[in-house]
Symmetry: none
Subunit: 210 residues, 2 copies
Amino acid sequence: MTNILIADDHTIVRLGITIIIRDMLPKVYIRDVDNFDLALKEMAKRHYDLIILDINIPGGDNLQMIDVLRLRQPKIKILIFSAYDEELYALRYLQAGADGYLVKHSSEHEIKTALHQILNNEKYLSSNIRQHLVNGNVKTRPTGNPLLALSNRETEVMQLLIKGSSVADISKTLHLQLSTVSTYKTRIFAKLEVSNIIELADTVRMYSNN
Amino acid sequence: MTNILIADDHTIVRLGITIIIRDMLPKVYIRDVDNFDLALKEMAKRHYDLIILDINIPGGDNLQMIDVLRLRQPKIKILIFSAYDEELYALRYLQAGADGYLVKHSSEHEIKTALHQILNNEKYLSSNIRQHLVNGNVKTRPTGNPLLALSNRETEVMQLLIKGSSVADISKTLHLQLSTVSTYKTRIFAKLEVSNIIELADTVRMYSNN
DNA sequence: CCAATTTGTAGTAATGGTACTACAAGTCAT
DNA sequence: ATGACTTGTAGTACCATTACTACAAATTGG
């Protein structure tokens, strides 16, 4: 018997996923919850084969969730289901140990493919992401936290940036030329693959324990 | 015969809504689209009684959508279906002419109530919003949520800003001059007493449950 | 209902930020 | 120990954003 847990705060989404699963696999046991704590409680009660997890789930937020889940049930399959751009986040979640990353506008067919593959012990990658990997657009980086790729000076600048400092502020604080700070900023954006301060802040939040 | 159009970019959400409607009203005609232009094209082909509209739909620029829709089909009922905090946005949409505002985490029962009321020519207000109206909370600006001090257009710009859009991006999205967007940005910063995007994002996060 | 304020819109000059380039010193793997 | 990146630093020309100004229409307070 297959047990599936759906964790998403939108009722409609839980309903939609439930329908899709029932349509593919009429006999599975499905439970759905609308926040991360309930997901953990549910996992304490019963073994699950798969959890479908919205990365925006209240009480969860960010990559840490994956470790938390695996700590409870090491063999659970984790399918991330997100409204966020996969190019930005998919690899991070996969590297953190997720089994697949699906965007919410995926077609029904795509969703079924993902579920199918994951339940058959394969990883799921959208063709888009596979393409990226093939093109080497994403250097198969030595796993883990991209924040670690920042040099010391870059890290200092990054910290000021996510506190809202301007390039000019930073240049005064660190006694550097504007152009120097600007270079760091460019390098930080490149290393973390972000293109604006909001994404930078999100990414840093995602990789730092709070 | 009742015709219903669902405009939402998440396949799952369209599917979920479809299921709910079919369950209530087995005989209605339902069409679903994933962006605003397609919604308009669809409306050119056929008369619709109701459109269920995600405010984040690609190609739509927020409040204006309502007028655009009404221009095509003056009698269409408009139900806004949004992931955003209703306290912040519901009234703006209702005042702009929507017939109801539903948040995406509403229960299936609540969704059915909304659909039912609207199809029966009533407006739909969540009990939460009704409460607000009764308490006259709407006008009393000074205390309370500073986000409510933003005008409609300012709110649209604010939302794009906290998603990481640049002034230039926003000017394209909303079809405004750069200088206009810039003026809005300045006014938003002043009203919320922030001085950079990070503070803006923090403030907005702090005052919305979303 | 009239005056004051807010809102929606935009131009223009000035300021701030980025892209691209550069280079010496440091580190690393072979 | 040598060639290949990385790091720390900066100049400059160009692109993006802001400050300030403006004004008509809508809204609001009294």
